[in-house]
């Protein structure tokens, strides 16, 4: 699934797809099939649905940012407009009893996303860089503003509701239950991801990378950088529209928040967090972000602060995102040396995690003391309940923070050295023997 695997396969000979390419998809499909058996509660399924929709959306965003080098601040618009059209279609189907089954609905969302992208792309893709970014911001703001002004189409702030159960039953399924919706979304997620992956392997997809790296050179290879960008842009609009259709099916309502610039910002965050350099990066980002959003926000009121800090740390220290961090280990893994890193990792990352947890505990304590009700000094943190106004928890948190970070710094040189050795062909595990 990664670039590296792909290339080995291509060069050797392979006009057909190799095992290494097909395997991750098969595993993903099987995995998605059995996942609801393990986590069958409706809320778990709802969160997984949300996750899959985000995956499609983030992958489509990465067609722009990661593969095409276009930074967009208004991508939510394409998902939103696709979704709104699906909502209208849903209501038309309900009113006229049209014989259309629900599972084909996302394709219409995609087509409308594509239509909008064609119009906007015709003038916004002439240049990349800041011009593109600012046009996307402007268009995003415009359409977001329209969503509350043009009530006839967007339904104002109440949004546009619908009911998915009036479609033609699909092999007896009326999509009354969440689990049925889950499999519908899972099907579309895998299909869209596969299509987007294949798109990145087509001539236009490959040239998108070339134009991203060096638009001028690409022009001297016979390709107009503008049209290459335009096709990527349309593709991204199409799949964003599909995500919008899935959203319409899952939530049966679209509101103006779907179009807001905040949504556009969030998808940028998700994609970057996951890693723009690899196809599967946005998938990781979508999973991680949805989990943070749904799980962390149940545990902490200041989760957005953590999210902001995590995002900033990612940009500063791991510009490749989660996927980049994972793929950093591939060379060492190829040489069978991942085991070397386990010890130093434990000695560095474990204390670092404790330090971070300590820091978070300090923030939570501070927050609790400042904002909780008078007399309500009990707080629960990391499954322990204690009195936030007593001195002990503060000491524990400070010790954990300082100690954890100190220990991590102690372990860091060793980790760096081992890392270097694990990635140098022919190096020995330790230097001890040689001396």
């Amino acid at each position: 699934m990664t670039d590296t695997y792909q290339k080995t396969a291509t060069v050797t000979k392979a006009p057909v797809f190799s095992m290494a390419q097909v395997a991750p998809w098969v595993i993903a499909v099987i995995f998605l099939m059995v996942l609801p058996i393990a986590f069958g509660s409706n809320s778990a399924i709802t969160i997984m649905n949300q996750m899959m929709i985000t995956i499609v959306f983030a992958l489509s965003y990465n067609m722009l940012l990661g593969q095409g080098g276009m930074l967009s601040f208004g991508h939510a618009v394409y998902m939103g407009v696709g979704g709104f059209f699906c909502m209208h279609l849903m209501n038309i189907v309900e009113a006229n009893e049209l014989p259309i089954p629900l599972p084909v609905l996302p394709i219409f969302g995609g087509l409308f996303g594509l239509g909008l992208a064609t119009i906007v792309g015709s003038f916004s893709t002439r240049k990349a860089g800041t011009v593109f970014a600012m046009i996307s911001l402007g268009i995003g703001e415009l359409i977001a503003a329209c969503s509350v002004i043009i009530v006839a189409f967007f339904g104002g702030e109440e949004g546009m509701p619908g009911d998915r159960t009036y479609f033609l039953p699909f092999f007896g399924t009326e999509f009354l239950r969440q689990i049925e919706v889950y499999y519908l979304i899972a099907f579309w997620t895998v299909l869209s991801a596969l299509l987007m992956y294949l798109f990145s392997r087509t001539p236009v997809g490959r040239m998108a990378n070339a134009v991203r790296d060096n638009p001028e050179r690409a022009e001297f290879l016979g390709y107009s950088a503008r049209w290459v960008r335009f096709f990527s842009f349309c593709g991204a609009g199409f799949f964003a529209g599909i995500a919008g259709g899935l959203f319409a099916i899952n939530y049966e309502i679209l509101t103006e928040t779907n179009l807001s610039t905040t949504q556009s910002g969030i998808i940028l965050l998700i994609t970057f967090l996951g890693g723009v350099g690899f196809f599967f990066g946005p998938i990781l980002g979508a999973i991680a972000f949805t989990l943070l959003q749904s799980v962390l926000s149940l545990q902490s009121e200041i989760w957005q602060l953590y999210l902001g800090a995590l995002f900033l740390a990612t940009v500063m220290f791991f510009p490749g995102g989660l996927a980049g961090v994972l793929m950093m280990h591939v060379p060492a893994a190829r040489m069978g040396r991942l085991g070397w890193l386990v010890g130093p990792y434990l000695r560095t990352i474990l204390p670092a995690l404790i330090g971070i947890a300590g820091l978070a505990a300090l923030m939570e304590l501070l927050f609790h003391v400042r904002h909780s009700a008078t007399g309500d000094t009990d707080m629960t943190l990391f499954w322990v309940t204690f009195d936030s106004h007593s001195i002990l928890p503060w000491i524990v948190a400070i010790v954990a923070t300082v100690g954890g970070i100190w220990l991590a710094r102690q372990g860091a040189p060793k980790l760096r050295e081992t890392w270097h050795r694990a990635n140098t062909p022919g190096a020995a595990k330790t230097t001890g023997g040689a001396a």
Binding site: T10, P15, T202, M207, A210, R217, F220, L221, G222, G235
Partner: protein, 253 residues
């Protein structure tokens, strides 16, 4: 009489008030290896950029196989069979060497803006790219990111990208700039090999390379061509010797 591969008529270019190219007339025949030499600041690179559509000319005409190129974007000129390299290495450094070459094959193999073909499924593409890599001796480097290659290898890759599209007019901008002796020999050999039966136009400073490769030489001084001819004719031309050496001396002081 056959139509020349490339023909320049009264080509002029001004930046603001300064005229850089002051009326260049030049005709380059098919399968000719033609070098453009001249002192620093003579306008050689500007001339290149005018021909390839990177800059619009102020006046005059550029004809490729008899077709006027006026107002065409670089990609359109390229599709008409003209390909160029750059003075500063200009490759896709985040992509692998193999990908670099394969991308340069796409248009000429008729894929255009296709999003229904898988590049990896085309035997022609893969084999074509491997063939080019073979020619430029980079087969063993195929899977490395282009950015990590050595300088000479990157120049070789650049030439590979330039010729891969099958253009019959190849323009190379200082292909040996900044190279050691052995590297230069390697590149010259490479150029000779890959431009077999093609029209080659190159800008070059290294006189050894110029006189070793070129069938014809044009001398550009202050935006004008003062002489064109066979290497030995140009070498013997007193006007060239005077003007060229004079300008060169001036440029150095």
């Amino acid at each position: 009489m056959t139509v020349p591969a490339l023909q320049l008529e009264g080509l002029r270019k001004s930046f603001g008030k300064t005229e850089i190219i002051r009326g260049v007339d030049l005709s380059i025949g098919r399968s000719e290896r033609h070098a453009i030499i001249g002192p620093n600041g003579a306008g050689k690179s500007t001339l290149f950029n005018l021909i390839t559509g990177r800059f619009p000319q102020t006046s005059g005409k550029v004809r490729l196989h008899g077709h006027d190129l006026a107002g065409m974007a670089p990609f359109e000129i390229n599709r008409r069979g003209l390909s160029r390299s750059f003075q500063i290495t200009n490759i896709f450094s985040n992509m692998t060497v193999f990908e670099n070459v394969r991308c340069s094959l796409l248009w000429s193999q008729g894929y255009k803006y296709s999003f229904w073909n898988m590049v990896s499924r085309s035997r022609e593409l893969t084999e074509g790219a491997m063939e080019i890599l073979e020619q430029i001796n980079l087969t063993s480097r195929a899977q490395l990111p282009a950015g990590v290659l050595s300088y000479a290898e990157q120049r070789a890759l650049e030439i590979g990208i330039t010729i891969a599209g099958g253009a019959d007019v190849i323009m190379l901008d200082e292909p040996t700039a900044g190279m050691s002796h052995s590297e230069t020999d390697y590149i010259v050999e490479l150029i000779r090999k890959v431009t077999e039966n093609k029209t080659l136009i190159m800008v070059e400073h290294d006189m050894g390379v110029v006189f070793g490769l070129a069938d014809y030489i044009s001398v550009l001084v202050y935006g004008e061509i003062i002489a064109t001819g066979r290497p030995e004719e140009v070498r013997a031309n007193p006007k060239v010797q005077e003007a060229y050496l004079g300008a060169a001396l001036e440029a150095e002081h």
